[in-house]
């Protein structure tokens, strides 16, 4: 890997660690995950296509590393895919409270700890899609990270945000 690419890759350490922290829920595991991600990226550097999004490529490696090393070790009920969890989360349109001023008011009052706690109750995939969206990745890049179609990203993101709003309903009451 060229020194320029290595320097650019290292510049994404904060963003990668942030996602790793939200996926693993542990500082130690997050550090291990990021370190393993960079080790794998270094070994696979020849597969990276110059001119494509290095950040998205690293996120994909991190997610795949997480899936192969961490997810299978855990017994968290929220670790299944987004499509297999939160069956109690209703559709956006069916929740009258979610469209009202009450929800808007609660959202404005929600504090950082509540937001983090609510996010951590979502599935790994839901958390991932929300955080990748926050990182400013385009839908095509998120699709590349998650290994799914762009349309799937749209629906997953919408469902993940709806689930998060539903969880936030429990705070600030």
């Amino acid at each position: 890997m060229s020194s320029g690419l290595a320097n650019e890759a290292l510049a994404y350490a904060d963003a990668l660690h942030n996602l790793a922290r939200y996926l693993t829920g542990s500082e130690t595991d997050a550090e291990d995950l990021v370190q393993e991600t960079y080790a794998r990226a270094l070994r696979a550097a020849h597969q990276f296509t110059p001119g494509t999004n290095l950040k998205a490529w690293l996120f994909r490696i991190l997610r795949n590393t997480f899936l192969s090393l961490y997810r299978r070790q855990r017994h968290n009920p929220t670790v299944g895919g987004l499509d297999t969890v939160n069956p109690d989360v209703p559709g956006v349109a069916s929740e009258s409270w979610m469209l009202g001023d009450i929800e808007l008011d609660r959202l404005r009052k929600v504090v950082a700890q509540e937001l983090e706690a609510a996010l951590m109750t979502l599935s790994d995939d839901a958390r991932t899609v929300i955080l990748l969206d926050l990182e400013g990745l385009k839908e095509t890049e998120v699709a590349e990270v998650l290994g799914c179609a762009v349309g799937t990203v749209k629906s997953r993101l919408a469902r993940a945000r709806a689930a998060l709003r539903q969880r936030l309903k429990d705070y600030g009451t």
């Binding site: 290292l10 997050a30 349109a93 979610m98 469209l99 929600v110 950082a112």
Partner: protein, 265 residues
């Protein structure tokens, strides 16, 4: 356009991803439909809350140091003409004109030496920054402002560091320490940008191979701007002093501080 169609596309609408004709239709619908307007407000608020209040967990400095160590260090750039070195050498061997070959070989060795020396200076600056942050007591003199930090160096160095920037709200001065740059003592001023520490090393410039090309104009000074192992580095020389600015803040912010330092020093 129906409410269901609008709700599905609200996020795309807010991100500017809806094509123009549909965008106009959505805007018209939102102007006329209070429920969808509220729904849009909620989506907007959720994005805002996530962007501004969701706790961020950046990598620790120790992790960054480990990552930098496990990755290959940046190598000095190879001159483009070095690929032709064998052919050049063969041609010169055939011609065998000592008066021509000697200056070329001399230049080649000098250029290589300078490139290595330049890379060495950058690596030294990053190492000094890491050494300082990795020590148990990174600052010998802490807080108290510029007029406590700068006089503290008197008697501890064989020069008075020429630094005039006292720190401000954007780049507060956190303290100072004695460091070493190559074979000489250095005054280290530690500024901060949010939670990022920034080291300014000031040392005697004589005898060092300063970069002479690929310089960037910052305020009134030509500086060498580069990055190594995830850290941004700016080197410049003014009078008898050399300056090395190192941090993991982004390059633009580091150049802002360099401009303040070079503008006032």
């Amino acid at each position: 356009m129906k409410c269901e169609d609008v709700r599905i596309q609200l996020l795309d609408y807010q991100r500017g991803r809806v094509p123009l004709p549909a965008q106009d239709e959505m805007r018209a619908h939102l102007d006329a439909c209070p429920d969808c307007t509220r729904a849009e407000g909620v989506e907007h608020e959720l994005t805002s809350v996530l962007e501004h209040r969701l706790p961020q967990h950046p990598a620790s400095l120790a992790l960054k140091r480990r990552l930098a160590a496990q990755w290959p260090a940046a190598e000095a750039e190879t001159p483009w003409w070095s690929r032709w070195r064998p052919q050049l050498a063969a041609a010169f061997a055939v011609v065998a004109l000592l008066l021509v070959a000697t200056p070329v070989l001399y230049y080649e060795r000098t250029a290589s030496h300078l490139a290595n020396a330049r890379a060495g200076m950058v690596a030294e600056a990053v190492n000094d920054h890491l050494r300082l942050l990795g020590s148990q007591h990174p600052l010998d003199v802490e807080g108290g402002g510029f007029h406590q930090v700068k006089p503290w160096f008197t008697g501890r160095l064989d020069f008075a560091p020429a630094v005039a920037f006292e720190g401000d709200a954007d780049f507060p001065l956190k303290g100072g320490a004695i460091g070493y740059f190559r074979d000489r003592k250095a005054a280290v001023f530690v500024y901060a940008r949010r939670l990022h520490p920034i080291s300014l090393l000031v040392f005697r410039a004589d005898g060092l191979a300063w970069p002479a090309d690929a310089l960037t104009r910052i305020a009134s000074t030509d500086a060498y701007v580069t990055a190594e192992r995830g850290f941004n580095v700016i080197l410049w020389r003014r009078g008898e002093f050399g300056y090395a600015l190192v941090s993991d803040v982004n390059a633009r912010e580091l150049e802002q501080l360099a401009a303040k330092l070079t503008g006032g020093s």
